[in-house]
Amino acid sequence: MPLLEMDRVTMAFGGLRAVEDFTLRLEPGELVGLIGPNGAGKTTVFNVITGVYRPTAGRIRFQGQDIAGRPPADITRLGIARTFQNIRLFADMTVLENILVAYNFRVAYGFWRAIFRGPSFHAEERRLRDEAMELLRLVHLHDKAGYPAGSLPYGEQRRLEIARALATRPRLLLLDEPAAGMNPAEGQELMEFIRWVRSRFDLTILLIEHHMPIVMGVCERVLVLDFGRVIAEGKPAEIQNNPRVIEAYLGEEEAAG
């Protein structure tokens, strides 16, 4: 059974069809790229998957369950996590707290025990903290645990955002331009990190990116969107030489190089 199935999904804003008849099957463990010109509808695809928008038409199934139009929080709880094109950390909270927030729906105490703080409360808080520190260690952010997230350098903020997404224990991870604003060397590093994350956490990943070296280097399959429609799909090498993709997105030189 595919992990995610999108069937002829359309998302319209008024007259504008940002995404049209979008169909996608993600098998468990895949790492798929989603590219296309600015405004092609890539982020919108993420938004309908995660429930930020309710699709105008079409079906979305995750692990066999229909999720189209369900509240975003429920979808996250089912196992889909994402990062954002423009970083959305809880900027004034510490790095550690950012991770703890992501544990919210797994916390073992309820409202009354939060008020009366029995020993079980403290035990649970300690457990959460340990788990969060463990995760931060894996992404090499543990020595920044007490810093406000907003004070981290950009690259580390990106990493923290991914770590925070991982903390919800997803099966499917959606990354929206994680390399934006990075230089090639940093991009290289990020590519390694994405690969490692996938195998370490046993994830399926859908990746939006404009940095071609990263897309070509890490993805097994690439979809190209233009004006809300898929104009090409295939292995990175095929995509790179597809004339429609070159015209709409890559430009001459990039294809050659």
């Binding site: 929080a73 996250t76 954002f84 939060a114 008020i115």
Partner: protein, 316 residues
């Protein structure tokens, strides 16, 4: 754990102080005036700290807190005056009734946000006052007199302590983390699996509950309640104390409420100039400390400020 011993010590100290104050008051060492002002300070702390949950931690802008205070005051008043029930029962009922009211108000209010939410909360404040004004059974605009003098220092002090403990524990739990996360980035919080509406409503209901308790105490302190005491004027007073003390800081609420109450009392000698000078003082403090006296910082035992969050990097 050091933190736990520290707080235990703090609460023991607070309780001891409460009992001592109460006994001093009864022994006539503290004048009625001092007791009165102390009680009002405590009631203002309860109001301010509870509103802080919504406006400070959650980052919404609710401006109708006096409405829930009114519900508490009137429910308690009716129970003690008309039904002759004991005060403690009226007190509990006041809290529950105000919490219920907050729940009812919160459902429509949280379909919107920002200044629109402000208007809805204000609107309900006005509606509550308007309705009470039109209920002749509770005196309408004439108000309700003859409430028993049930509020004493023990009661107000106990309630303040309970309020601060409950709110303090909540904000230092999963709930507080989520409220702060919602304030900082609601969409991100939603996509972390947080049930945002429900969480907002929880904060609002808790805040309403304590406002109701404050209302019950207030009514049984002044021994007379009148709908015009709970209009937007009262609501804005609470706002001023809140933002003066600082958002997202319970000790800030304590400082803000105390400072404002004491300031206004101590300026009495100035007559009509009192209300000219005090807003000037407020403006100067806000200009010097734009985040309020303790905005997003807590005053801790050692007299140290623990900063929560450094100035955020300007959004690029």
């Amino acid at each position: 754990m050091a933190a736990r011993w520290q707080s235990l010590f703090l609460w023991t100290l607070a309780t001891a102080l409460a009992v001592a104050l109460h006994l001093l008051g009864r022994a006539g060492v503290l004048s009625g005036y001092t007791v009165q002002v102390l009680s009002l300070i405590c009631i203002n702390i309860i109001l301010t700290a509870s509103l802080n949950l919504v406006n400070g931690y959650l980052g919404e802008f609710a401006i109708g807190h006096a409405g829930f205070m009114a519900v508490g005051a009137y429910v308690a008043g009716v129970m003690t005056v008309k039904l002759d029930l004991p005060f403690w029962l009226a007190f509990v009922a006041a809290g529950l009734a105000a919490a219920l009211a907050a729940w009812l108000v919160g459902i429509p209010a949280f379909t919107t946000f920002g200044d629109y939410l402000a208007i809805i909360t204000l609107g309900f404040n006005m509606i509550i006052v308007n309705v009470i004004t039109n209920i002749d059974a509770v005196g309408g605009p004439r108000g309700m007199a003859g409430l028993p003098k049930a509020t004493n220092l023990l009661w107000v002090y106990g309630t303040v302590a309970a309020t601060l403990i409950v709110l303090g524990n909540l904000v230092r739990s999963n709930y507080g983390r989520l409220w702060t996360a919602i304030r900082q980035n609601e969409i991100a919080a939603t996509l972390m699996g947080a049930r945002v509406k429900q969480l907002k409503l929880t904060a609002f209901v808790v805040a309403g509950l304590f406002a109701g308790l404050a209302g019950a105490l207030w009514g049984h302190l002044i021994q007379y309640i009148n709908p015009s005491s709970f209009t937007y004027i009262k609501s804005t007073e609470i706002l001023v104390m809140l933002y003066l003390g600082g958002m997202g800081s319970l000790s800030g609420s304590v400082v803000g409420a105390t400072l404002m109450t004491v300031l206004l009392e101590s300026l009495r000698g100035l007559g009509v100039w009192r209300l000219v000078i005090s807003p000037l003082i407020l403006i100067v403090i806000m200009l010097r400390m734009p985040r309020g006296i303790l905005g997003f910082r807590e005053l801790s035992l050692g007299g140290l400020f623990r900063p929560r969050g450094v100035s955020r990097r300007a959004a690029a």
